[in-house]
Symmetry: C2
Subunit: 210 residues, 2 copies
DNA sequence: GACTATAATGAATGCTCGTTCAGTTTGTTG
DNA sequence: CAACAAACTGAACGAGCATTCATTATAGTC
C-alpha cells in the first residue's frame, strides 16, 4: 500500500476533473466526448475509465466538485462582523469572484440545470447547492433581525430565497449578455431587497375599478 | 397556388413544433432524436425535413415559438389601471400561468439557457426574451414613479432587471424542487423589491473596523 | 376520372461516440 | 536488478443518430 501511489492517483483524478470541466464548459455535457476530456487531460481514453465508471459518473463528480468550490468561495468571508448590508456585500463579493469572474462557471451551471430537470441525481446536487446559498442568506438576515437592524416581522425564509433566486437569475443574465454585470450592480439589486432604495408605496387618489 | 395546401402545410408545421416541444422537454435537446419527434407527431422522419432544414433549425424555431407564447402570456393583462403593486401582481399572474403552471416550460427554458451559453444564435433568442420581460417591468415601475407612487430617484432600470432576474431564479428553483412554488410566494418576493416589507436599515451602535 | 405537383415514407448511409480489453509502460519493492 | 502490480494505451467494437433520396401515396385541378 504505497502512499505515493495513492497521492499520484488522487492527482490524476483531479487533473481529469479539471480537464472535464474545461471541456464541458466549452462544448456542453453532451457534445463533449470522453476523447476530448482525455486529450485535454493528456491521457488516453482508457485511463478515464480507471478513475470514473462512465461519462455520466464523470459529469456527476464534476458538478459535485464545482458545488464545493462555489460554497467555499461564498463562505470565505461571511463569518465576520458589521451591518447586515456589510455582511451581505461580503458574501456577494465571494460569490461573485467565483461565479462570475471565473470564466465558464455560468455556462457550467446552465448545463447542470438543464440536466437537473431530467435526472433526479443531478437535481439533488444542484438543489443542495441552492440550499447552502439560502442558508447563508438566512443566517445573515436572522442576525439582522436579532440585532434589531431589520424589522422583526420580516419573512426571513422568503427574503433569503429571494436573494438566492436573484443571484441565480443574474447568472442567467450574464450568459445572455455574454458578459458579467459589474459586481456593484448586483450588490445594488440585492440591497434593494434590504432597504429603502424604493420608497414605501403611498396610496394616491386613483383607486379605480379593479 | 391552392389555398388549402398552404393551410395544411402550416398545420403540419405546427404539429411538428408541438411534438418537438414535448420531446425536447422530456429528453432534452440532445437526447431527443428526430425519430422521436416524428413518432410524437405521427409522421415519418423524412417529413421533418420537408419543414425544417435540420434538427438545429427545429430547436431554434421551437425556442422562438416558446418565447412568443410566454410574451403573450405576460402581456395579456398588464395594460390596465391600478397601483404599481396591482399591475405587477397581474403581470406575474400571467407569467406564472404560462411558465410555472404549464408543465415542462422550466425544463425547456433550462435547455435553452444551456445551449445559449455556447451558441450565439440561441443566445440572441433568449436575450430578447429577457429584454421583453425587463421592458414590461420598466413600464410598470416608470408609471409608478410618474404617479408619485415610487420615489423619483428609483433606479428603474436596476429594479426592472432585478425583477426579471428574480423571476428567472424562481424558474430554476422550481426545477430543483420538482414543484412550482405557490404564486403568492413569488408575488411576495417581488413585492419585497417594491415595498417596506423589510424596514429601512437603522444604524445601531456597532460601527466596527470596516 | 385521369393528371400532376406536393407531401410522406422509411430503408439505407455514413458518421460519431461511449466503452472495452489485450497488450505495453511505469514505478515500487525485496 | 528482477519481479510484480498498478497505471496507461489506443485500436476495435457496436450502438445510435442525423440526414438523404428513390419510391409511394395523396390532394387538388381540369
Amino acid at each position: 500500500m504505497p502512499r505515493i501511489r495513492i497521492e499520484r492517483k488522487e492527482a490524476t483524478r483531479l487533473s481529469i476533473l479539471r480537464a472535464a470541466r474545461t471541456v464541458f464548459v466549452s462544448k456542453g455535457f453532451h457534445e463533449a466526448t470522453t476523447h476530448d476530456v482525455a486529450r485535454e487531460a493528456g491521457l488516453s481514453v482508457g485511463s478515464i475509465y480507471t478513475y470514473f465508471r462512465s461519462k455520466d459518473d464523470l459529469i456527476r463528480e464534476s458538478i459535485l466538485a464545482a458545488n464545493k468550490d462555489e460554497t467555499d468561495a461564498v463562505l470565505r468571508d461571511v463569518r465576520s462582523s458589521g451591518t447586515v448590508r456589510e455582511k451581505m456585500a461580503r458574501a456577494i463579493a465571494g460569490w461573485y469572484a467565483y461565479t462570475l469572474e471565473e470564466p465558464g462557471v455560468p455556462a457550467f451551471l446552465a448545463e447542470a440545470w438543464a440536466v437537473a430537470s431530467r435526472k433526479p441525481l443531478i437535481r439533488d446536487l444542484v438543489a443542495r447547492r441552492r440550499e447552502r446559498i439560502v442558508t447563508v442568506a438566512m443566517v445573515i438576515l436572522q442576525e439582522g433581525v436579532a440585532d434589531g437592524e431589520l424589522t422583526p416581522n420580516l419573512d426571513v425564509d422568503a427574503a433569503a430565497r429571494a436573494v438566492a433566486a436573484l443571484l441565480d437569475g443574474v447568472i442567467l443574465e450574464s450568459i445572455e449578455s455574454g458578459a458579467s454585470p459589474p459586481q456593484m450592480d448586483i450588490e445594488r439589486r440585492v440591497l434593494l431587497l434590504l432597504g429603502p432604495e424604493i420608497a414605501p408605496v403611498v396610496r394616491r387618489g386613483n383607486d379605480p375599478s379593479a
